[in-house]
């Protein structure tokens, strides 16, 4: 489904564990990187490759919040709102993003560029408020810094 290179990468990953099942989380990461999200065929591929049932895979996908069960925007914004970020303005930041993008958490903008998610503590409390945009942390945010950042993105 994903080609020889992909399968070789997966083989290498599986080889790092004493049992194939242990490679589930890293394999799901590879699938999400290749496909953008964990679609049903991705889950079935992982199940067959690792010798577990598709229900088992789905159980993991729905347990770990970072695996996407549907496509997100090209720029997926995950705003931390746990206590320390809350104390430094995360709620205002989130509200600003909702208004600026015109979406709520769990939605994607019509042009497919942005999606929004509220997340728990990202381990960046010293640089609050902050969010994670796809893989990258953006810290010590101000509303104008956020505007500048987002307006520059394709």
């Amino acid at each position: 489904m994903f080609g020889v290179e992909f399968e070789k990468r997966v083989d290498a990953i599986v080889g790092r564990y004493p049992e194939p099942k242990a490679a589930l989380l890293p394999v799901l990461w590879e699938l999400q990187r290749a496909n953008g999200w964990i679609s049903p065929p991705c889950a079935e591929w992982a199940a067959a490759r690792l010798g577990v049932s598709p229900a088992h895979v789905h159980g993991a996908v729905t347990f770990y919040t970072m695996y996407k069960q549907r496509p997100t925007g090209r720029h997926h914004i995950q705003v931390c709102t746990t206590l320390s970020c809350m104390l430094r303005g995360s709620d205002e930041l989130l509200e600003h993003l909702r208004r600026k993008l015109g979406i709520h958490e769990g939605q994607v903008t019509a042009d497919g560029r942005f999606s929004l998610q509220r997340v728990e503590c990202l381990g960046s409390c010293g640089t609050a408020p902050m969010f994670q945009l796809n893989d990258d942390y953006h810290e010590n945010l101000t509303l104008s810094a956020v505007d500048a950042l987002l307006d520059r993105l394709p």
Partner: protein
């Protein structure tokens, strides 16, 4: 042996036993949901928390191994407070479905709520709304709201059937039991998850809304579906509820569930066996004697049959084709009748389907094929007998119809029907063999007579009658006694199945020494090795 002081009483405990196992083995109930004796320990429901001296926190009884000298309290205020707490937590999102839930009356949540709940809910927030009556398999419905996330069903599908269809999805209080879309809960043992579900989250479609469990009477018996001989409980309507508005008796079988027998079927049974009782209703029942296609007086048909059979038996031209679900008692009585009349060539019909699996299923669908081999010790197989009949060597052929399923009664080839002068059918159904027979005598079906079966492992087990045969139908061994009387030959004055078994035990070496008392509810080993020296 480690000593445990349980609520002030010192008891000896099996090494390695948990507090819960030790308590339950003494009939001392500690409430539990997620623990099941046939599955691994989960420890998630927390209702079994007990006080263990020297431990600062309460400990779960299901997982804590007894150490010598351990002192445990299961009824202290601290324990009761914990139980109240767990019950309250379980009930906050649980739907008030009792009035429409099949589990009512055998629901652990109900029972423990009454025993260990406070009776008043302090929860005033909205309850989680989840999917209800979800069709997840051929026999099973799922109600996600009722589920208490004990994981018994998941562990069953992981550990017993190895099929892993069920899993937890999502996290925290949003956790639900689910199945992968497009897959079904379709392993051959799916019905067991309904038995083990402590609440009404998993229910059996075939039982849905049929009746309330407090209207059921349970009869311990043996499944007739295959040679494994799973121990079961046959649930029928109770006596006082038997009369419907038309004044008809309604003691139909409502469900069959497994009965625990560690030596035979553990805690489980297969779906085919569980639902085999439905086959009793697929063909019209034979409840009256018939001659030449019309109803006739039972005694008259017996006389006519006895005449024909006696003549043929004296000439060595009588045959008996028995099904492998006939009881040992029926088969022995016919063997005695045959010898009393002269000779009776016997053969046992074989029913084979599918394959043996690693769990319970057997290819041999004859629940008593072993017993039939011991009792009849037939010199030839079925083919041999039918060939002889087709060659014209058999004047009178008696066919014992299958006790469970009309489709499993042996089919008689045209050649046999053409050459045999008198075909006598003794069985419960109007099946193909019955239609071909001129003389028909109504026999009890499975669940309608006492008797014994021998499993493929040589275990002798007792069937108990759960309901009336109805009309003139009676056990096959009684019909043999009636025929003997009509033919003027001597058979002992047997009045019940136990009498016949006792007689058989004298005659059949593999049954030597076995009585109903010795066999009991869990069966006893039969066969030459087991009974040697008995």
């Amino acid at each position: 042996m480690p000593k445990l002081t349980l609520d002030g009483r010192e008891i000896d405990v099996q090494p390695g036993a948990t507090i819960l196992q030790a308590a339950l083995s003494r009939g001392h109930e500690i409430p539990h949901f997620c623990w099941h004796p046939g599955l691994s320990i989960a420890g998630n429901c927390r209702i079994c928390l007990v006080e263990v001296e020297k431990a600062p926190k309460l400990q779960i009884a299901c997982q804590t191994q007894v150490q010598d000298g351990m002192v445990v309290r299961t009824a202290s205020p601290r324990v009761e407070a914990a139980r109240n707490a767990v019950m309250e937590f379980l009930l906050i999102n649980h739907p008030l479905d009792c009035p429409i839930c099949d589990q009512a009356g055998e629901c652990r949540l109900q029972d423990n709520a009454v025993a260990h709940g406070t009776g008043i809910s302090r929860y005033t927030e909205p309850k989680l709304a989840l999917a209800k009556a979800v069709d997840i398999g051929e026999h099973v419905l799922l109600d996600q709201e009722r589920c208490i996330q004990c994981s018994r069903c998941i562990r069953f599908c992981d550990e017993i059937t190895g099929t892993s269809e069920l899993a937890f999805f999502r996290r925290g209080e949003r956790t639900v039991i689910g199945i992968w879309p497009g897959r079904r809960l379709d392993n051959p043992y799916s019905g067991n998850v309904v038995d083990i579900c402590p609440v009404g989250a998993l229910t059996l479609k075939e039982f849905r809304f049929q009746t309330r469990v407090w209207y059921l009477e349970n009869t311990p018996s043996i499944c007739a579906g295959c040679a494994r001989g799973c121990n079961v409980l046959i649930a029928t309507g109770r006596q006082r509820e038997l009369m419907t508005t038309q004044g008809q008796q309604d003691d139909r079988i409502k469900r069959v569930v497994p009965r625990v027998n560690i030596e035979v079927n553990g805690h489980w049974m297969c779906d085919e066996g569980r639902l085999s009782f439905e086959r009793l209703a697929v063909a019209p029942r034979l409840r009256q004697a018939e001659s030449g296609g019309s109803a006739a007086d039972y005694d008259e048909v017996v006389r006519e049959a006895a005449r024909a059979l006696a003549a043929a038996a004296q000439a060595g031209r009588a045959g008996l084709l028995a099904g492998p679900r006939a009881t040992c008692e029926t088969l022995y009585a016919w063997r005695r009748l045959g010898s009393a009349l002269g000779s009776l060539r016997g053969a046992v019909h074989a029913i084979e389907r599918g394959a043996d699996d690693e769990l319970l299923l057997r290819r041999d669908k004859g629940a008593n094929s072993r017993g039939a081999a011991w009792v009849l010790a037939p010199p030839t197989g079925e083919a041999g007998l039918l060939d002889a009949a087709a060659r014209g060597e058999i004047d009178v052929l008696v066919v014992l119809g299958d006790a469970l399923d009309p489709h499993d009664t042996p089919a008689l080839p045209d050649a046999v029907r053409a050459r045999v002068e008198t075909l006598i059918y003794v069985g419960p159904f109007r099946d193909a063999a019955a239609e071909a027979a001129r003389l028909r005598l109504p026999a009890a079906a499975w669940s309608e007579e006492d008797g014994s079966y021998v499993s493929f492992e040589d275990r002798v087990q007792l069937l108990r009658r759960a309901r009336l045969a109805g009309g003139a139908a009676r056990p096959g061994w009684r019909i043999a006694v009636d025929l003997a009387l009509a033919a003027g030959v001597e058979l002992p004055a047997w009045t019940q199945a136990a009498d016949v078994l006792a007689a058989a035990a004298q005659d059949v070496r593999e049954l030597d020494g076995l009585t109903e008392e010795r066999i009991g509810l869990l069966g006893a080993p039969g066969g030459l090795a087991a009974t040697a020296g008995a």
